[in-house]
Amino acid sequence: MPSLIDMRRRIRAVKSTQQITKAMKMVAASKLRRAQERVIATRPFAGQARHVLASIASRVDEHAHPLLARRTGGATLLIVVTSDRGLCGSFNTNVVKAGGAFLAEHAGRAVWLGLVGRKGRDFFARRGIPIRFEHVNLPKAISFADAEAIAAPAVADFVEGRVDNVWMVYNEFKSVIQQKVVVEPLLPLTSVSAAEEAEAAGTDYLYEPSPERILDVLLGQLVEAQVMRALVEPNAAFFAAQMTAMDAATRNSSEMIDSLTLYMSKLRQAAITREIIEVVSGAQAQ
């Protein structure tokens, strides 16, 4: 049976753990707010870009562009975006699992990996899958230059014909309590639908210097914007996941403190009762 002093020590230990998880929860919550603002700030760009793409598509044969080329039979590049740090529940496990499922689905075909974030790197580094590139220690405030640095090797592999497809898997920020793992194609870029094209075809634009040049600039930016999104979304989702995980940990430690305190009281009561019995039986014996 543990002594009273042991119990007190344990309760104190759980309490200090709880203080840490509580602090981490607060920190994650404040970082989440900033990350969330960044997610919202990146959203208008892609919408505008798609709109312009639709209006150009009616004027040029966009399928001739190298970023829209459809090929089959060759290798696939999968970009896995995880976080650098842990203590965020199943955040990284879910992404890694989805990545594993993707690999299983494409068994027999060549799949290369591009890894972003330490957790995913550590997991896939030991699997013997060819790794094209890896990026760890991403800054907290992700800039467009970071997205460019990650997009550049993927675009080069695709344009030069080394891979036929590029896919991305990352955590999407749905809401503070919900993250969703998405697996989506990056390249070839999906062109606009006929309906979108028809809607935009009404305006007759002047092109400067040429429709082809505009398309070139536009598609390049569209890829980078999509990569940017795949970095900014998990950044916010990470803090959301960490906040939820730390909140649960804080609650669990409260429960643990309660049950330990109850047990300690019982121990103390038992000790007091024993002492009384001893005193009483001692008095009777005289």
Partner: protein, 142 residues
Amino acid sequence: MAIPKHLQLEFVTPERAIVHDHVDEVELPGEEGDFGVLPGHAPLLAALRTGEMWYRKGSETRRAFIAGGFVEVVPDRVSILAPVAERAEDIDVARAEAAKRRAEERLAKASVVDFDAERARIALLRAITRLQISRQGRPPRG
């Protein structure tokens, strides 16, 4: 069709929205030269180069740095999509100066056809443009 009175200016980068406002006039650095846009401009899609843009709202003119991208113009709206852009007041002068020095050092060392030299030249152009824009507090015209 009546000529609209204002232009709806949407200026976005992948990082954030720079400007979202009603304005009277916009001037942009096109790949084939600077051009101005007034309300009622013909629909236009133009590629942009690294340079300075400004827009006027009433008598107030504001300036911004822009590095590439393109613009969509319709009679009552201007949508600028640039990979990198900053309002004049947001330019980090110390950083631009450091970038300028770095680029100049690399250029001094590199040979003419070097790929790195090309990158350094682009960096230098961006840094110099940023510095120019942030120094001229006053609008270019008027």
